[in-house]
Symmetry: C2
Subunit: 354 residues, 2 copies
């Protein structure tokens, strides 16, 4: 167990001295030391693929703020990259794949990569970070969800309308299920390998589940996350490694996500935590859900809004703060002020002290 075990205890809904907090994209461009490391490394992908640099960048926010967890510095697209899609980044435009997956032949070529060879740089980073952390705080490993990875794989990069993958869902649903099945197997192997390398909690990012209609979400996103939750549990020992299923726009599906067997559900800021807590009924821990744009407000406003999120959770959880992991509802942005992140972390701990 890490010295600071608030995160792991909260994910098991056990009592803690104050609510644990970490921030999605806490290692990132808003930190001058990150920008300095990146300037030396040359590229984002170069950083992610170098375990020493990934370790350094993972630890940077922990030197500044009393965060209750580290999260592996990496990218959700390492998995499709290892499947041969050829990931690259266009400055200012986001990720792209050289070989998008758009027909049956391309789907047939997909195979689950061997993680300890193809994604060795990730498991090496996990081992190195664990050593450097020396038990101070737990390390979170992560993956994209099958649906979210498939979005990038079919679209060939980011998208506004998801035209290609939605056309595939409508016209060739069996082909999309085949694609999602292989990706889900890869995600399960990837998360299991991160766990074996030392990750003490795991998060699945379903960034794009919320762009689907409810019927489509229940067909193409939710079942694959349920499969991940089931498979990871089956392969886990007595001291289970907690799993967090996070999704943007997943507020309508909190009950269904809680029923997958996951340990925690992460939600964005468009749902009241009180509502999410009532609807999940204590079956899971909840993670979230301050609007990241709150960090553009003053430290006073940040403190007030953090208090609202904390109190909202307790209001829906029978007055108790247990089972809550504080986070943003989505990742931090490059133009945010590190001092504001500091104010947020301080406020969460101070306002939730038992």
């Amino acid at each position: 167990m890490p010295k600071n075990d608030r995160l792991l205890r909260a994910l098991r809904r056990e009592p803690v001295d104050c609510t644990p907090v970490w921030l999605m994209r806490q290692a990132g461009r808003y930190l001058p030391e990150y920008r300095a490391t990146r300037a030396k490394a040359g590229s984002f992908l170069g950083m992610a693929k170098n375990p020493e640099i990934a370790c350094e960048v993972t630890l940077q926010p922990l030197r500044r703020f009393p965060l209750d967890a580290a999260i592996l510095f990496s990218d959700i697209l390492t998995v499709p990259d290892a499947m041969g899609l050829g990931l690259y980044f266009v400055e200012g435009e986001g990720p792209r794949f050289r070989h998008p997956v758009r027909d049956a032949a391309a789907v047939a070529r997909l195979a689950v990569p061997d993680i300890e060879t193809e994604l060795r740089y990730v498991t090496d980073a996990v081992r190195l970070i664990r050593r450097e952390l020396d038990g101070a705080v737990p390390l979170i490993g992560f993956s994209g969800s099958p649906w979210t990875l498939a979005c990038y794989m079919v679209e060939g990069g980011g998208s506004k309308d998801f035209a290609r993958i939605k056309a595939m869902a409508l016209n060739e649903p069996a082909l999309l299920h085949k694609l999602l099945g292989v990706v889900a197997d890869a995600v399960i192997a990837y998360l299991a390998a991160q766990r074996a390398a030392g990750a003490q909690a795991l998060q699945v990012f379903d960034t794009w589940g919320g762009v689907l209609s409810p019927a489509m979400y229940r067909e193409f996103s939710l079942p694959y996350m349920a499969r991940i939750a089931g498979e990871l549990q089956r392969g886990d020992g007595a001291e289970r490694t907690p799993l967090i299923l996070f999704g943007k726009g997943n507020g309508a599906y909190v009950e269904e996500l809680a029923a997958t067997g996951t340990d925690a559900v992460g939600v964005d800021w468009t749902i009241d935590l009180a509502d999410a807590a009532r609807r999940s009924g204590g079956r899971v821990a909840l993670q979230g859900n301050l609007d990241p744009a709150t960090l553009y407000g003053s430290p006073e406003a940040i403190r007030r809004e953090a208090g609202r999120v904390l109190d909202s959770y307790a209001a829906g959880n029978g007055g108790s703060r247990e089972g809550h992991v504080f986070n943003l509802g989505h990742g931090m942005a490059p133009d945010m002020d590190p001092e504001h992140a500091a104010a947020l972390v301080e406020a969460v701990h101070a306002l939730s002290r038992r």
Copy 2:
């Protein structure tokens, strides 16, 4: 009354022979005749500000498809433009304002424009379209919601994170309320003028309400839409002009929107219409909610998905199709196939025939 009064009857929840359908952005770049008109006119704003061209473009989709309504060709940003913000468009990047509203002095300078002088080109277009329609189908007028217009006014254009307006909401809520109050008054005057000029139904587009947390939505978006609903009703005659409140990401607020006094609520595709119908409890008509990306699917898939939307509404409305206006959950995109729009309109009428 127009000869085809399905839309107006459905908005009053009266029986119709089949479910009326219109499509957000049905007049647009996906039509070759629109692109030809635009090439002659030179610019989007040039088209919107010329009543003859606005009329021509409004009528184009009606010549192709048996749509049950026309919607004024215009832009939601005409109102802030008339307030002196200096609207312009950067090709491929969307709208911009020369004079964004970012401080108390700028808010203090805002005033409700005189619609029949400053926005005469809009009311002239409404009058001309009514004459040209000659009672065939009803004409829908529209406006952006106060919150959505304020987003563009404060950000100075489109935004991904809404950093500036959210910072204003957090740090200077009274200033933002002052801004929203003036904009709401302008919207009310604008919609009343469109109605006086001949618009037979009115829609408010709250495109960006869904980017807010529930607490923020209830403070900065919902009350201003409720004020619009109340004021327009007060100024209306015996034969009331129906009002539709549409919002992206408003699924969580259907009950509250239905309680504003509006005639109809328009929702996007991330909520089941069955759920929306149950929750609004017959107090309003509902408009929606096919995922626009469905138009990237095959005509067979479009027909199947249209049937699902129709049946979902009926399932939540005690088995009845009355009180449903079929639409997309958001606007059409330039790369959509007009033949697919034709298939959709045909399917809605055929599958909903009483």
